[in-house]
Point group: C2
Chain length 393, copies 2
């Protein structure tokens, strides 16, 4: 077991109608002006955005707005937000939407608070010393960004997607009404479920020591996500299932499922970022398309964890060799992805990179991770390329 | 499933040697003067107190000290601490010790921040509007006070023990080195394990709706606590076991294991507070002495939860009627208490209240809870008396 830090300061209000409290929550921040940051039209069409604006008006809190955050949110919009926020004297950012609006809001927050180019944080060149405080009214269960220290931004020049993590970026509050996720297309719901599952898997598949308290929570979370993802596939309006998935999404990425472990893997995330950057695929679908290939490439180096995962999460019977059991666990996971209509290869994802493009992705992924990535098995550039090639089959 | 708030702002540093960081953590608070509050001699004898003082000196942080917090911490010492802190201009309180020192520190914090008599908060007469910020170097795994909003204080006049909960009292940081718990007497270790188990049980045994994500985490936690309590009974110096129990202690009472549930029970805690107040018994032992009687008194009204507990936590085979299975789960829990040398009756606890004393306790417990207590079954005064009488057998 390893030492760890656990810090999840986000105040979560969870359940039906909690968005009604957005005005009083922002009021508590004693801010001068709010930037309301959102994505595309869905929060406009649903009336949520107007509800939020009215709530701020009722509390006499001045605000400005910036929409347009897209999946794999863009650096150019972040720059626009930083300029707007500085000009308007914004000292609080309220994201209304999913992980894209929220990650974009975090980047704007870093850019306003710190001198210099905000991309330098994402480009591993420097560390933030603070962030404009962020709140969120969440409309999608997926990235866990509402309680996490993470965000990911895509730079259009070269289509480079990079993540940055800092505790300064953890939202001060998160309003989470599962009903707000019910209007999502089924594909987006399944992508979200996949991302949630993966955030714990990325912490679970490590070669070194772990902690039983953490492992058993992680296993409970993964079983819960799988169970309710399958229910949502049949019943997208099932409130209980929406709520289970939404809360699992926050717990999966706030640090809880990694406490005491020897590290994290996050190789699949790293590999997917290159797909997201180059081909603009949905993040969750990209993860599903790569995971099986990653798992088959690394499982022998982390056999005890793949064995445990198979028996404790995927319900594989403890019969046969550990290697056989581990493989059955990988197959069962891919079967799950298929059941929720997620791809298990890049071809199913709808992309067919050339050899050169795969080499480029492996090279960029290697650079983004400082040369090495992963804990289940430490991957270098040639491993990354091998996994991309496997995922073409 | 019910709406919920989740708010656990405490920054946790967990693992070996983390107490070395106490100086820099206090420094982050930008405080003028610290009150170091501790219990009896153990933190003096171990050298921990000197280490903490030296760390503050190294950071040039002025401090004053107050020792003497005892198990079931006393109101008179709280008053003394409030007076000292006000006189000295204290604006941060650092508890060094277990739940007693920390609960006492919380009460001092409320008393310094708010006008009037601090006992009024514990006596259900008013609500705090703030608290002097608290940090803790924890030396015992038990109360979960290091991440919780709770504290319990005993008023010597009438020997009344009362709890008070407010988010203002959640510590800003908690330093948790499991090694610091290794010097505890075995009895105190077992009492702590029992208290930890109970904090989740008090949330788990509810008659209304719950949430699967929460239930499965709660079950994972209870299984983990039982597993490592039994290891500690044999190997008190086992670091892994100390760490599993210590982290479970924080998670068990920070709110995580109650999210989305219809309420909490906490009847066993309420009944035990009267034992603690009147007979000054160790809290964990008092809980163990009462739990089986409480469970047998209420289980028919909450059969689905006792059935689930038996099969998912206590390993009872799913054979026979639900009532039979539920009873086997209760028996298995009592067997567990016996294995870690905890009492399962008041007689085994070493107290034999008279009929009149039991009536007094039931009456005080009823008053403390506003007439009704519990969720598995709502208890009124006569129920409380019946449970005390059952626990005499």
């Amino acid at each position: 077991m390893y030492n760890f830090k656990y810090f999840t300061p986000t105040k979560v209000l969870f359940g039906k109608g909690t968005e009604e409290q957005v005005g009083s929550l922002v009021k508590e921040q004693n801010c001068k002006k709010v930037l309301i940051h959102y994505g595309m039209g869905s929060v406009v069409r649903s009336g949520l955005l107007d509800k939020v604006k009215n709530a701020l008006d009722s509390e006499n809190i001045p605000w400005v707005e910036l929409g347009g955050a897209v999946p794999n949110p863009r650096l150019s919009l972040v720059y626009e937000g930083i300029e707007l926020a500085k000009k308007e004297g914004v000292d609080f950012i309220l994201a209304v939407g999913g992980g894209s609006a929220l990650d974009s809001a975090k980047a704007i927050g870093y850019g306003v608070y710190n001198e210099g180019d905000v991309w330098d944080f994402y480009d591993r060149k420097k560390q933030a010393t603070g962030c404009v405080p962020i709140g969120v009214v969440l409309t999608m269960a997926a990235t866990g960004s509402e309680m996490s220290n993470s965000s990911a931004i895509t730079k259009e020049e070269g289509w480079i997607k990079r993540g940055y993590s800092s505790d300064y970026g953890r939202p001060v509050f998160a309003i989470m009404n599962p009903e707000l996720t019910m209007t999502l297309p089924d594909y987006q719901t399944a992508c979200g479920c996949t991302d949630i599952l993966m955030h714990t898997m990325e912490r679970y598949f490590v070669s070194g020591d772990t902690m039983e308290m953490t492992d058993t929570i992680a296993e409970a979370l993964m079983r819960t996500v799988i169970k309710y993802s399958l229910i949502l596939e049949k019943e997208p309006d099932n409130y209980e299932a929406r709520a289970e998935i939404m809360w699992a999404g926050s717990l999966s990425h706030n640090g809880l499922t990694g406490c005491g472990a020897s590290g994290v893997d996050f190789a699949t995330h790293g590999l997917e970022h290159e797909l997201g950057g180059l081909y603009d695929v949905a993040h969750g679908a990209g993860l599903a398309a790569l995971w099986g290939s990653w798992a088959r490439y690394v499982y022998r180096d982390c056999l005890h964890r793949f064995y445990r995962f198979a028996t404790q999460v995927m319900g594989v019977r403890d019969e046969g060799s550990k290697e056989e059991i581990a493989l059955k666990g990988i197959e069962a996971t891919e079967d799950f992805f298929r059941k929720i209509h997620m791809p298990t290869t890049m071809t199913e994802l709808g992309i067919q990179p050339t050899e050169e493009e795969m080499e480029l992705m492996a090279h960029k992924c290697s650079i983004a991770s400082g040369g090495k990535k992963g804990s289940a098995k430490v991957l270098v550039e040639e491993d990354m390329l091998a996994i991309y090639k496997m995922a073409m089959l």
